[in-house]
Subunit: 141 residues, 2 copies
DNA sequence: CCTTTGTTTAGAATTATTCTAATTCTTACT
DNA sequence: AGTAAGAATTAGAATAATTCTAAACAAAGG
């Protein structure tokens, strides 16, 4: 998993603008927190991390910022079963491995050919804009 | 998608017993409702369907029954994003296609070889007990 | 029987998330 | 600069799905 490079504030503004959204200090901090520690944090965890840098931010704003970043395709949402939504700034197509023992989440790179093979399993008439692949198990390493 | 045949009440009892659980009229009805209409209903939807047959059942019991059936491997849970959990009596390994327009869910059969290929992408030390594959998009057919 | 253990039930509690309404910021005119 | 219009932020209320709680019930074993 090579990390996705953090984009510049200007590029962030641009990406937001592309989706009709504005850049704000809050959105910048939320984004930088996400790329700073790619452990698939929940909104609550993001909130806690952001507060140390910007103590006045509210949880509602964190949700708003995360949604904005998802909308402009800088961040992906990840869900495991019924757990809280997690956020992932890795934009490479990849799967997730969810360690049932520790709760940790790892990114798993997938060859594009394999994804293509998966897509080809769909009957004609089914057009998938997205595939989500999640492994569950134990990582002993 | 060939449908999974409904198992007999005796076999249901046996499966439950294998997991240290008892059979009950409620569990039988919940199971028969699930196999009766395989449209991946939510707990609420199951509740509504079961009530017509057994009007005194409670929602908590439906949750309990569904959990029991999941535990003894007769039913799978399916989650889409943040939506309510859905229940699926199809035990063949398969993926799901979630139609974003209608909200409908379709089962997609997957060749075991492809699943094996997916599993082989995991680094050594990662042992997956389960893989979940979800397509999102639009079904025009 | 009588005890133990599992199940059901109704309703309360919980959790993650979204909504609301008031305020504050930006942007873009004039 | 001054101001109107549209976004974004905030705190707290509301919601939705699910889980928990405690009491009643049922079944199984000695």
């Amino acid at each position: 998993m090579q990390p996705t490079a953090q984009i510049s504030p200007a590029a962030l503004s641009q990406k937001l603008a592309d989706s009709g959204l504005r850049n704000t200090p809050q959105r910048e901090v939320v984004y930088s927190v996400l790329v700073g520690k790619r452990d698939h944090p929940t909104a609550d965890e993001v909130f806690a991390r952001v507060k140390s840098e910007m103590p006045t931010i509210s949880l509602a704003t964190v949700y708003n910022c995360l949604e904005a970043l998802v909308q402009c395709n800088l961040v992906r949402q990840v869900n495991f079963e019924r757990g809280p939504t997690r956020y992932c700034p890795n934009l490479h197509p990849h799967a997730h491995f969810h360690d049932e023992a520790t709760g940790a989440t790892y990114d798993i790179d997938l060859p594009p050919a394999l994804l293509e093979q998966l897509r080809s399993q769909l009957p004609s008439g089914y057009r998938a804009s997205d595939v989500e692949i999640t492994f569950r198990g134990q990582a002993t390493a």
